[in-house]
Amino acid sequence: MRLEPKPAPSFAATLLYPLGAVAATLVFTSVLALLAGASPLDVFLLVAKGAAGSQFALMETLTRATPLIFTGLAIAVAFRAKLWNIGAEAQLYMGGVATVVLGTGALPLPAPLLIPILMAASMLAGALLLLGPAFLKTRFGVDEVVTTLLLNFIVLLFVSMLLEGPLKDPMGMGWPQSIKVLPEARLPRIITGRRLHYGFVLAIVASVILWVVMKRTTLGYEMRAVGHNPEASRFAGIPVNSVLMKTALLSGGLAALGGFSEVTGLKGNLTSDLSANFGYTGIVVAMLAMLNPLGVVASAIFVAGIFVGADSMSRAAGVPSYIADVMVAVALLTMVTAIMLTRFRIRWR
């Protein structure tokens, strides 16, 4: 079996293969629904309704999508330069830590000053965290998959330590949580009574800016060139190592903004369950979006919708909400296969 590149993918193929991927995902999850003793059609309808069936549901989905957009962007920019950042989870937490350290009273400033400062501080914290692995990679050839992945556990334990120690809320009834950030640090809600906050708007703005950076700027050009062919880039005079460092700063900063947005927009304080695996799910989001920053918004909303919808479906139909994980995973696999099939044809022997 071998893959032969197709000279030019036909329009029908670019349309049909992704549709086939969606169909395959539905078929596969139908089997699981049947195994759980529910009607597949009911399950899908309940998921759809739970994700977007009402204003409340839609707002919840968008709220859930917000951190995924940030981590998805972080992954998209890093993977574009072939910097395999698996540590968005840790960078997100570092963003949360920076926000709480400075936002709970250390800087008594009005909101228009405080919020930008907290944003900058959290981005810096996330960026610095990824700088270490990037330095080890460029200088000594240490595999960044390993270093960034392991940093996730180190940072999570570090956060637990902070929450049991210096950052612990004395009024928190013993729970490992920080005190709430100042009211001036809070991102306002978009609609009163709903949880959706301006972090979502910030995420959209970030994705548009990143799209412009990738398409129009010399930095975006350098990152894409280095990702596609580092050797040719080096030959052409592109400073490969410095581009990788810049990519790391940008990627770490974007993931950390997710932490900032969750703390100031949603939770109000830092806890050790600030992230529901947003750093890892961000990888799926970025891959589904084919690393396109604007696509990240759509794929983050899609993935968030499945999770939010599956939660409400599981209450109604009695099917475990873990089916959401399977759906997202299968959707990713079939979509990646579909993308490959539009570009290659398989030859058996």
Binding site: A225, A232, R349
Partner: protein, 508 residues
């Protein structure tokens, strides 16, 4: 009449997408015969060989060996039928001995151990019988390229091959090693083996073959008895018309534009250079001949800026370079054509426009305040496409989709943009068809005429001799003294390429 055919190809057709690599090719090879398969790069020679040996499956047609049809896509069946193949790129394990490499795969996996004694005596017998002198206990990694090729041939003979296929066997050999190979092939034929010899070098084909088959554009366009034809006729068949050799006009030699003095370099991988001194004059092409892997890559990397000297100085137009990087080399005015246009010269998944600005995207011409001017980039790509006669659908096409010749023209255009005073052309025509080769040569000669200093690195001695005003030979990381056009004969250059010292050459 002639003996019976041992190998017969019938109506072989192979398509890759819309490209027809082999179009209904039929021919046969008889016992004790050397058949040369002649054709330009891209004519379909290698595809045909891969079908013959079972690496590819033909879309149509059959291969017969000794009267039996071979199952398609099964190299083991080809081996069992007595077909042996010597690839252009050797398939030997560097860390194992000659004996182990030759015996590899001939014994059952369940055999407790290799019967070294018997294998060794068989190898020695074969080696002596056919002039393939090599020590069975030597490690492959320590052998020269010529010796490795002998091991490849021994490998085939050890498996009782009756038909030997050689894919561009002389590409990596010095002229002297090639002679030895031809002597071996004659001995093999005398013993009744049949040989299919793939080449694009005319003089080899005339020297060794009984019959010539000419491939062009995937079709068999001619079949001649070698003694009834001549190289001009064959070349015309191969190209489909007459070819003009490049006209080298007399140009006044200029001042030194690029100089390496006492330069040493230790690349992370590759041949180190010691105390190398080289001066390139304006209006002159300096040719660097040599068998690949003798330090040319290090010298090219040094000139391109991808490695910095560990000692010594580099000066462009008399100005000594301080820090030496690709960007510094570009800034100093060196136009660079890299050896490998796919891995180093271009970024396959980026567009033509994105590729042509890769060395200059930071200049005011293509960007302002960090924002790229894609209109200017596209305009530049269109200019190059027009000026260099590149066949390319649009500046937004991925460069991967272009043919080798068109890609090379773009890389050349990028390197020559702005008329750089110094040009590094490393294997600029490797793998190109005759038309593209002539084009690249004419562009280099044009640059020479306007006063550029050019270093031409090539493994093709004919190319070096045709273009160069002075010829250097590189062997084991050392540079010979230059010789003016016609000063040294081909065989003298060959001796230098094989590593003989100049003193030995003068003494002889």
């Amino acid at each position: 009449m002639s003996p019976t055919p041992v190998l017969r190809l019938h109506n072989i057709t192979k398509r890759f997408g819309s490209l027809v690599a082999n179009d209904a090719i039929s021919f046969d090879v008889r016992e004790g015969e050397v058949v040369a398969l002649l054709g330009e790069n891209g004519a379909g020679k290698t595809t045909l060989m891969n079908i013959l040996f079972g690496h590819y499956v033909a879309d149509e047609g059959t291969v017969e060996a000794f009267g039996k049809v071979l199952p398609a896509g099964d190299p083991n069946a080809a081996l069992a039928a007595g077909i042996g193949m010597v690839h252009q790129h050797f398939t030997l394990a560097d860390n194992m001995t000659v004996l182990e490499n030759v015996a590899l795969g001939t014994q059952s996996l369940w055999a407790p151990r290799l019967d070294r004694k018997e294998a060794s005596s068989r190898i020695r017998a074969l080696a002596q019988g056919f002039g393939l002198v090599v020590d069975p206990d030597a490690t492959i990694g320590r052998l020269t390229v010529g010796e490795r090729q002998r091991v490849e041939i021994l490998k085939a003979l050890y498996r009782d091959a009756r038909i030997l296929i050689l894919d561009e066997p002389t590409a990596v050999l010095t002229p002297g090693e090639a002679e030895a190979l031809f002597r071996t092939l004659k001995l093999l034929v005398a013993k009744g083996l049949s040989i299919l010899f793939i080449s694009h070098k005319m003089h080899e084909v005339t020297a060794i073959s009984d019959r010539v088959l000419v491939l062009r554009g995937g079709k068999l366009v001619g079949e001649r008895k070698t003694n009834e034809t001549d190289s001009r006729a064959m070349a015309a068949l191969m190209v489909g018309g007459e070819i003009a050799s490049p006209k080298v006009e007399a140009v006044q030699r200029g001042s030194v534009r690029f100089a390496l003095s006492q330069v040493s370099a230790r690349p992370p991988a590759g041949v180190p250079l010691n105390n190398l001194t080289l001066e390139l004059h304006g209006g002159e092409i300096a040719g660097l001949a040599g068998v690949s892997g003798n330090g040319q890559a290090t010298l090219a990397a040094l000139m391109a800026g991808t490695i910095a000297p560990s000692s010594g100085t580099i000066a462009v137009d008399g100005r000594e370079a301080r820090s030496w990087t690709p960007r510094a080399a570009l800034g100093a005015g060196i136009g660079r054509v890299p050896e490998d246009r796919h891995a180093v010269g271009s970024i396959g998944d980026m567009t033509v426009a994105e590729n042509v600005i890769s060395e200059r995207y930071r200049t005011r011409r293509f960007s302002r305040f960090g924002f790229l001017d894609w209109t200017a980039a596209r305009r530049f790509a269109e200019e190059l496409v027009r000026d260099y006669d590149v066949k390319c659908p649009s500046p937004d096409a991925r460069i991967r989709l272009l043919s080798g010749g068109n890609m090379q023209k773009l890389i050349l255009g990028r390197a020559l943009d702005g008329d750089p005073p110094v040009i590094l052309a490393n294997q600029p025509t490797r793998g190109l068809d005759v038309g593209a080769v002539a084009y690249v040569h004419s562009r280099l000669l044009q640059a020479r005429k306007r006063g550029a200093a050019i270093l031409l690195i090539s493994e093709d001695l004919e190319e070096i001799l045709a273009l160069s005003d002075r010829v250097y030979v590189m062997s084991k990381g050392r540079l010979s003294s230059p010789s003016a056009r016609g000063e040294r004969s081909v065989s003298e250059l060959g001796e230098l390429m094989a590593g003989r010292s100049e003193d030995a050459l003068h003494a002889a």
